[in-house]
């Protein structure tokens, strides 16, 4: 029976020793141990977070780079397209300009030809007129060489006028 009866002495010593143990351990063991464990846990967490952040930053940078590359590529494409367009436009313009020039040249040629032609015609006309005058002079000179002939002509002219 005395096995299950607590003894005052042992309870006294247990209380005393346990209380002192609790005090000493709390002060010199548990506080530093728990503190160190907590500090290390925080450190690990921080390190993990930092690593995660670095990875994220890296990914961001990578995606940024990719964007930049894409942009550059798009710009290049646009420039190429633009320059192609410019080239075709230039060619087109040149073509149309040359066409116009050609047309103009043709036109000019044509008008100068016309001008020459008309000048030539005018010259021809004047020459024909002078030649005709000369001929007429010479005919008149012959016709009007005698008084009879002059009279006959005057009569004939007078007849023509009467007829009208």
């Amino acid at each position: 029976m005395d096995l299950v009866l607590p003894s005052i002495g042992l309870m006294f010593w247990t209380t005393l020793v346990f209380a002192i143990l609790l005090f000493l351990l709390a002060k010199f063991a548990w506080k530093p141990i728990l503190g160190a464990v907590k500090a290390r846990e925080e450190k690990i967490n921080n390190a993990l977070e930092a690593a995660e952040k670095a990875q994220k930053d890296m990914q961001e940078l990578q995606s940024k780079n990719e964007d930049l590359l894409k942009e550059a590529r798009a710009e290049r494409d646009a420039m190429l397209k633009e320059s192609k367009e410019a080239a075709t436009r230039l060619i087109e313009e040149a073509k149309s300009k040359s066409k116009q020039e050609a047309a103009k040249i043709i036109e000019d040629a044509r008008s100068s030809i016309e001008l020459e032609k008309s000048a030539a015609i005018a010259e021809l006309k004047s020459q024909v007129a002078s030649i005709s005058l000369e001929i007429a002079e010479r005919i008149l000179e012959g016709e009007l060489a005698s008084d009879a002939k002059q009279k006959a002509l005057a009569d004939k002219l007078a007849e023509d006028i009467n007829l009208n």
């Binding site: 096995l3 299950v4 607590p6 506080k31």
Partner: protein, 366 residues
């Protein structure tokens, strides 16, 4: 620990104690005769009980025992003398005289003989069948017994271990090394698997020192009891130690209990008022029953382990044949290995239940 194994152990204890009481009673029927036959139940019972000396080897007068101081508070003041003055006698035969008072050691309890008596007289209690002391009284006994001595050793051991662990953190803030590497997982286990789930994240920190101390006190105390050559001190299996630890839990629980805890007990919510007459006493007694359950669980489990080991070894001596060692030694080895598990398990359960009770007391009852 499942309820089943717990009950099995209780049955075993009752069986062994019942047996021992019967045998001891019959022994003293033929008083004075030296006991020749090996009496296992008495041996087991003697082994798990406290004693005034630290017995190491041998029997009777030839025993090698570390003498420990006996400290008594009598009506004439403090008396201190060495337990060796009893000359290994625990049958009340050898009388030690100090300050005019006479003391005897009867079944590892010191009695002070009443004035004028020269030797201890005993009488048989007819009802219980047990021998009782007739002419002596128990003085207040603060002796450094085997268990108290073990208690000191345990406290020093724990201090050495954990202060050196704490120091190692000052030099090393990287992963723990050496002893700290062994102890840190246990400390973190007590924090993350015992304190935080039972008490809650916001309130656990205040109770960590107690929970850690009680966990390592019980665990290392249990382990000390399993070391065979140092006489397997049954410190944590002593009801006094178990009760003291349970009282620590109870006091911490009651000091920190909030209004919600008390109102749950004295004004059980959601119950008709008429039932309060029954519920309030039940709830109130429950506080103390929980502490008693803590005590009995630790005491019974650890003592039972000691009894099983001593009983299995005892087979050899009962049969008086070394051949039985072939059965007894492997079984003892098996039980000892199991006891290593039980040592940790009981420390865990005690700490876990303490945390649970404290958690109930400080919980914000919504």
């Amino acid at each position: 620990m499942t309820l089943n194994t717990f009950i099995n152990r209780l049955v075993l204890i009752v069986f062994v104690f019942g047996l021992s009481n019967g045998v001891i009673a019959s022994d003293h029927g033929e008083e004075g005769k030296e006991e020749k036959e090996f009496n296992l139940p008495e041996f087991a019972k003697h082994h798990i009980k406290d004693s005034y000396g630290y017995h190491l080897l041998g029997e009777g007068e030839d025993a090698i025992t570390l003498p420990l101081p006996i400290i008594l508070w009598t009506d004439k003041g403090l008396v201190v003398f060495s337990s060796s003055e009893f000359h290994h006698d625990h049958h009340g035969h050898h009388v030690v005289e100090k300050n005019g008072m006479k003391f005897v050691n009867f079944h590892e309890k010191v009695y002070q003989l009443k004035d004028g008596e020269s030797h201890l007289k005993t009488k048989m209690n007819k009802e219980s069948g047990q021998l009782e002391v007739a002419n002596a009284v128990r003085p207040l006994d603060f002796s450094i017994t085997k268990n108290v001595f073990t208690l000191f050793v345990l406290a020093v051991l724990i201090l050495l271990i954990f202060i050196s662990v704490a120091k190692s953190y000052k030099k090393n803030d990287k992963a723990p090394k050496g002893l700290a590497g062994w102890m840190e997982p246990l400390v973190v286990f007590v924090r993350d698997d015992i304190a935080i789930p039972n008490i809650g994240k916001s309130k656990y920190a205040k109770f960590m020192p107690y929970l850690l101390t009680v966990f390592f006190f019980i665990w290392i105390g249990n382990l000390l009891g399993l070391i065979p050559l140092i006489s397997s001190p049954n410190l944590t299996g002593s009801i006094s130690v178990a009760l003291t630890l349970a009282l620590f839990t109870l006091v911490i629980q009651l000091i920190n209990a909030n209004r919600g805890f008390w109102s749950h007990i004295f004004m059980p919510p959601g119950m008709p008022k008429i039932l309060w007459i029954i519920l309030i006493p039940i709830e109130f007694l429950g506080i103390f029953i929980k502490a008693a359950a803590l005590t009995i669980r630790l005491f019974a489990n650890i003592s039972a382990g000691h009894i099983i080991v001593i009983s299995l070894i005892g087979i050899i001596f009962i049969k008086q044949s070394v051949a039985w060692a072939g059965l007894s030694v492997p079984m003892t080895l098996f039980i000892s290995a199991l006891e290593l598990l039980v040592a940790a398990l009981q420390a865990y359960i005690f700490t876990m239940l303490s945390a649970l009770f404290i958690g109930q007391a400080v919980d914000d009852h919504h």
